[in-house]
């Protein structure tokens, strides 16, 4: 690759690494040194003072602990095969879910690549902690070998800097929604380069009415905890947070189940969720806006301080445009799962379910020939990031299988 021109160098801040040492030679995927590095990163993050205040960091740290990485390797790698990284992978990291930069890095490293990450321009406590921990770790003798393979940058909107990195990357990962993805695709890339693009997605939750009816007090509380995690932990800004709650069952029974669930859930959320005034205003504006533009909306109910319930009399083909943040759920009652089919587009990502078995839902997705829905997980696991995401194996996508005979 061509050396970085000085004026481009000046326009970026290197937070982790020294670009003079950048080495684009790939290593085999699932390399032991990288597994060791990531499991040490896990340990270092969990030992960081105050880390408990960052549930997202803790989640990542658990994900990349040694046992889990080994399990992942057992599941996804084929040891009899030679699988290698591509070389240099450039990452555009997301700002709505800061911790995904860490996952992105882990995927790129495990695939066997040198990773250059562009972090979101606004600093966040999550990323500050990640950067500091990585810096310390790279300075230890056992991980010094990764100094040439791991870089984190920040720079303001800059066509030239983007063009430079996109122009020399063997692979690129863009977390950023449709607009960013289209913009990044427009930069010329080497012909052989691979891309992993995360576009705008829409997620929903299906609840079987019988299952909610049957919940005892304690179970109801446990269920609220799971639903709360899915909806509130990322302020609904994560693509996998449910936007739509589809109740499946008879209308009258659904109404009763709603009266059972939502008051308890709203109290649960009010006790835990810290809604900022601006979020409350944004929700109000959004709900008012929707009330006068979406004819499917029957009512907008504020339940407690933290929850808006937007009740729909049916689904529209552009349901995925109907989003909310910080605790705004759109609710619809359906007779059967099949009634979802017409509105499920390729935009649909995560379907969380309650009252169904995974086979039931996946069988539905299969027989209905759904274009969308890439994840089918129980309520409570909407935000569980993994190497299979948005419908592909990210690590496989960023590596080469060398056909050896």
């Amino acid at each position: 690759m061509t050396p970085i021109p000085d004026d481009l160098k000046r326009r970026q801040t290197v937070l982790v690494g020294d670009l003079e040492q950048l080495d684009t030679h790939p290593v085999p995927s699932w390399d032991d040194a990288r597994l060791a590095f990531l499991s040490d990163l896990s340990r270092a993050l969990l030992a960081a003072p105050g880390v408990r205040e960052f549930p997202d960091v803790v989640t990542f740290a658990y994900w990349c602990r040694k046992a889990n990485l080994q399990a992942l390797k057992d599941k996804l790698s084929r040891p009899e095969r030679l699988q290698m990284g591509l070389g240099l992978v450039f990452h555009i990291c997301p700002s709505n879910v800061p911790i995904n930069a860490a996952f992105s890095l882990a995927f790129g490293l495990l695939a066997g690549n040198t990773c250059v990450l562009r972090l979101p321009s606004a600093s966040t406590p999550t990323l500050d902690l990640l950067v500091e921990t990585l810096k310390t770790l790279l300075n230890t003798p056992e991980h010094a070998n990764l100094q040439s393979a791991l870089f984190m940058l920040r720079y303001e909107r800059d066509d030239d800097v983007n063009a430079y990195w996109m122009g020399c990357a063997d692979g690129r990962i863009v977390w950023g929604g449709d607009e960013t993805v289209q913009r990044m695709r427009a930069y010329p890339a080497p012909a052989h380069s691979r891309e992993v693009m995360f576009t705008d997605r829409y997620s929903l939750c299906v609840l079987k009415v019988e299952a909610v009816e049957g919940l005892g007090d304690e179970e109801l509380n446990a269920f609220c905890q799971k639903l709360y995690n899915d909806i509130y932990l990322m302020d609904q800004a994560a693509c996998s947070s449910p936007q739509l709650i589809a109740w499946v069952g008879d209308g009258e029974r659904v109404r009763k189940a709603q009266d059972k669930l939502w008051p308890v859930f709203a109290d649960f959320a009010d006790e835990r969720y810290l809604l900022e005034p601006i979020q409350s205003m944004d929700k109000f504006v959004e709900a008012s806006n929707n009330a006068c533009t979406n004819t499917h909306i029957q009512s907008v109910k504020r339940q407690g301080r933290s929850l808006y319930r937007v009740q729909l009399d049916g689904l529209s083909s552009d349901q995925s445009a109907c989003r909310g943040y910080s605790g705004t759920v759109h609710e619809v009652t359906l007779g059967t799962l099949e009634e979802l089919t017409p509105s499920v587009t390729e935009r649909y990502q995560t379907l969380t379910y309650f009252g169904y078995g995974p086979d039931e839902v996946s069988n539905y997705a299969k027989t209905a020939h759904l274009r969308g829905v890439d994840r089918i997980v129980p309520v409570g696991q909407a935000l569980d990031m993994d190497a299979i995401w948005d419908g592909f194996d990210v690590i496989a996508s960023l590596s080469r299988i060398v056909d050896v005979r």
Partner: protein, 361 residues
């Protein structure tokens, strides 16, 4: 016909003479009438009211009146008259990156705005038209088809002045010769000075300071408004603002006003004691910034602005994104009745969120 009757009755109200209890007899029925009017005349408004489940048959107090978020005017075209009756479309300045608000005025509303503004001004500067120095440039008012907040403000206040003189050239530079000539001409008279808070600061105060010149405007009364945000960003306090104006031109009578383009005309003027006052035609409610429940005197929250002026658009009750506190009712030392309050700045803006914002931040 009925509109004219309303106007006459409205104009009988004493500008700052209604105590809060007495005011309920005038203001509340009119607000109920407006709510019903907009329900029947503006479909999007009716949709919101119905879908949010407001009980419009039982409005007992001001906080019971359904309110819209003021930002909605940036996103929806809200009007309660046929398009053909729109005589003026006002637009807000619009924070960068946002589309501006659009406010549609018919004859009735526009005439009410003028009358009410005039009554409020009379209370502060007397009924006589004073020579008016506008701290802005003439180009700002050149395009009369689309009204920005600045255009509306300048034209609105120009009606209370005579011999209107613009202090700034069209490139926003201060024309001290023109201002001096105006001052010479109106020597020993009270004069009215009008400008937007930040423009007065940047293009008058700082311009004079930089040139090292001073002007003698000690007989001037400055009416200024339009937000302190830019000054707050530069850490300019109200005291410093006043002091430095006094330094460059000897002007010590200053009245800040608070209001928004969405309710033009019903401005809240700052009295001699530094308190903002609602006139007979407007009122405010302070609401909890999270759940919007009404708060009591002394508690800080979102300012909801109420006004009986908007007939052509459903803007009679608007929840702003400004924070403020009610200081008291009926007992300000200046003698004006009604509610008085202070503004404490804007709601802190949210981070841009969502999947599509990776690169825009």
């Amino acid at each position: 016909m009925s509109d004219e009757k309303t106007q006459t009755t409205l104009m009988d109200w004493p500008t700052f003479g209604l105590g809060c209890e007495e005011k309920q007899n005038f203001f509340l029925p009119e607000m109920r009438r407006l709510t019903a009017h907009h329900m029947s005349a503006c479909a999007p408004y009716a949709d919101i009211i119905k879908k949010f489940g407001y009980d419009t048959d039982n409005i007992e107090t001001l906080p019971d009146i359904p309110f819209l978020p003021v930002r909605l005017f940036k996103q929806q075209r809200l009007l309660s008259v046929p398009d053909a009756e729109v005589v003026k479309t006002m637009t807000s300045s619009g924070t960068s990156g946002q589309s501006p608000s659009q406010i549609f005025l018919d004859k009735t509303t526009s005439s009410l705005q003028v009358k009410v503004l005039s009554r409020i001004m009379t209370d502060f500067i007397g009924p006589k038209r004073l020579p008016l120095l506008v701290i802005d440039c003439e180009a700002t008012v050149a395009n009369r088809k689309r009204f920005s907040a600045r255009t509306a403000g300048i034209l609105g206040f120009s009606m209370f002045g005579r011999n209107v003189t613009y202090a700034l050239d069209d490139d926003m530079s201060l024309n001290t010769e023109r201002v001096q000539a105006f001052l010479d001409k109106h020597k020993d008279q009270d004069i009215l000075v009008f400008g937007f808070t930040y423009i007065v600061w940047l293009h008058f105060v700082k311009a004079l300071e930089q040139s090292g010149r001073t002007l003698d405007v000690n007989k001037g009364v400055l009416i200024h408004g339009g937000g302190w945000k830019q000054l707050a960003d530069q850490a300019i306090s109200t005291t410093e603002y006043k002091d430095r104006i006094a330094n460059v031109c000897g002007m010590t009578r200053l009245h800040n006003y608070y209001g928004m383009v969405e309710q033009t005309g019903s401005i809240f003027m700052e009295c001699e004691h530094g308190h903002l006052h609602a006139s007979a035609w407007s009122d405010i409610v302070i609401r909890d910034p999270i759940d919007f429940s009404p708060l009591s005197v002394g508690e800080s929250g979102l300012i909801e602005l109420l006004s009986v002026l908007p007939h052509s658009y459903p803007g009679h009750a608007l929840l702003s994104e400004d924070m403020g506190t009610i200081l008291g009712h009926d007992d300000c030392a200046c003698g004006r009745k009604g509610v008085y309050f202070e503004v404490k700045g804007r709601l802190e803006q949210a981070e841009v969120r969502g999947c599509s914002d990776t690169y825009s931040r």
